[in-house]
Amino acid sequence: MRYTGAEVVWECLVREGVDIVWAYPGGAALPLFDALSKYPQIHYVLVRHEQAAAHAADGYARATGKVGVCAATSGPGATNLVTGIATAMLDSVPMVAITAQVADSVIGTDAFQEINITGITLPITKHNYLVREGKDMARTMREAFFLARTGRPGPVLVDLPKDILTAQCDFHYPERVSRPGYRPVLRSTPYHVKRAAQAIADAKRPVILAGHGVHVATAWEALRQFAERINAPVVSTLLGLSALSADHPLALGMAGMHGVAWANLAVQNADLLIAMGMRMDDRFTGSLSHFAPQAKLLHVDIDPAEIGKRVPTFLPMVGDVRFVLEALTAELTEQDHRDWLAQIESWRTQHPLEVHGQGALPPQEVIRALHEITDGQGVLVSDVGQHQMWVAQHYRFRRLNSFFTSGGLGTMGYSLPAALGVQAGHPTEPVWVVVGDGSFQMNLQELATVTQERLPIKIVIMDNGYLGMVRQWQELFHGARYIGTPISGPDYVQLAASYGIPARRVTTTAELPAAFAAARQADGPFLLDCKVDGGENVYPMVRPGTSNADFMEDPRGRAQE
């Protein structure tokens, strides 16, 4: 049977099990959208800006482990995807981005809405394609999905000229594809496993570092068993939060620039770091010359390029985090590190995470109230900035893979559009969005999509009238000159109302429980505008370029001691 190129695209998506696509139409993409009428099994979500389509596909992929799909037209449609694609690239999120292109015959002539999107996205995709013949379409789509989800996942872009979309072609979906030279290594060698096991058995102060790779490899249970077997504490990166329940006695929470004190002290005093699917990001390590000075590093990652990239490695182990964890657990007998764990507990007691806010509504209290109402079991999407760090510190994630945020790229405006996708992955419960007023205003147009899709997304705006994280740096490092950081905004309650979304304003801590209860009880979406204290800083904080052991604590806390 003959198909048009556009039909081939949807046939391929159906075969890949795709049932939802976030997209925005346009001139060159017309044939693609026209053919969609024949595929009712694919739910098409019209977003209000292409960036949101990419973030939604990203959120869906993180929440489900499946490949998220977004689509846009040529030119500005394609360029609007760029931030979303880069966000997915930095956080290793499987995504296929489909862009329409001007007709093949006019490519390279600066035709209307022509842009070289494969050139633009070259450094921010795992791979990309410009399809120039209908016969290549099916194989390309197959490869795109294969590459996006295997190995270290990432975004793959497929650019489809309009005339290829309309031309008739044969359709044969290849059963398998292969790329010479592309062979992700999944299992470590027995030699490496033995050596690693020996190093772990010899360690006196081991710390497990859980990164995003634990989620990607669905290694939550393997991580718990491994940690229990070797009786070692688990420190998370930002994206590694919710890899182990925060209730678990071995879970320490997040380390790094705004990590909790006891987690940073554990890393800095460790004699062995067992890094699982994390890439030693600078926000995690702090100054490299001061990083974990006594520790040997055992680094497990599916991407060999991450090993030894920033921190010299004692033992590299290339492989899938789950397989490696299982192999190590099988190799090791029970260990006992009670003295080490007691030492960490004493650090926890000496440097607890407290709320010192003097204002009517300290922002940390908002996160704590969210924790209460969801019992730590909520599905959370956070944006980027101070509120993101407060979520990481004060929300105790008791549910696995329940926290989604832009880590590597730090993309402001991520949360609301990403929640569209996370919600699609969790259709039966509300998704909570925690977002600053600055970040919210970057993509608030997606309120219309929330309403259109009748999604029960609960939006918690941490509204402090500042670009808070930048303001904090200005206060601490730039003489408290607040240039360009005070930010105004609309009346968010009225704004929500104009989209048909019920909303409430919260100005004191006392109002929080009732406000959150109202949000949760509402059938559909809800918005809380939390007027939090604009002068709050995130503590602890490690000054850039210094050791993670030398964190600054809240000066008000110190004053009381």
Binding site: T118, G119, L122, P123, K126, H127, N128, L130, F146, L147, R149, T150, R176, V177, S178, R179, P180, G181, Y182, R183, P184, L186, D303, P304, A305, G308, K309, F323
Partner: protein, 177 residues
């Protein structure tokens, strides 16, 4: 330190841009870059000579290996058992007085004279890059009007070959496990 990377890459659009991006992003100056057909159909052999520190280049090689379409990437810098050849075309200014001297130098270096005009001689020489450097050095006083070098290609001695053909990626295995 000067490093030599030899790679086999699939012959497809944008491969050159992908490779160039790796070096450009990290601010490396590529000394030479050669590309040509390999013994495998549809696979191009690339030789890159680049200046850089060992650890930084190790990262480039790793990122290079990650490119989809890179079949094999090897840093052969430390490999003693290999041959390196490069071709040079050079146009030297001559007068009736100096012409014979340039011809003898060409002989000495086993360079061929491939073109003659009243004021220039064009020499062709193929050999190890060092030898070409020396040839250029002795020609310099005569006035080098134009020069073109291909960049070196490298190949290991003996029976072993760069490509030990890899097994195709196994999508299915990953997905079912």
């Amino acid at each position: 330190m000067r490093h030599v990377l030899v790679a086999l890459v699939q012959d497809e659009p944008a491969m050159l841009a992908r490779m160039g991006n790796l070096f450009a992003r990290r601010g490396y100056n590529v000394e030479s870059f050669t590309a040509g057909a390999s013994e495998l159909p549809g696979v191009t052999r690339i030789t890159i000579v680049v200046e850089g520190s060992g650890t930084a280049l190790d990262q480039v090689a790793k990122q290079f290996r990650k490119l989809i379409g890179a079949v094999k990437v090897a840093d052969v810098t430390a490999d003693k058992e290999q041959l390196a050849y490069e071709m040079l075309l050079v146009k030297v200014g001559v007068t009736s007085k100096t012409r014979q001297e340039v011809v003898s130098l060409a002989d000495l270096f086993k360079a061929r004279i491939v073109d003659v005009s009243s004021t220039t001689l064009m020499l062709e020489s193929t050999g190890e890059p060092d030898k070409l450097d020396k040839l250029l050095e002795v020609l310099k006083p005569f006035g080098i009007r134009e020069q073109a070098r291909t960049g070196a290609v490298f190949m290991g001695r003996g029976a072993k070959i760069l490509n030990q053909r890899p097994a195709p990626a196994s999508d299915r295995k990953y997905l079912t496990e």
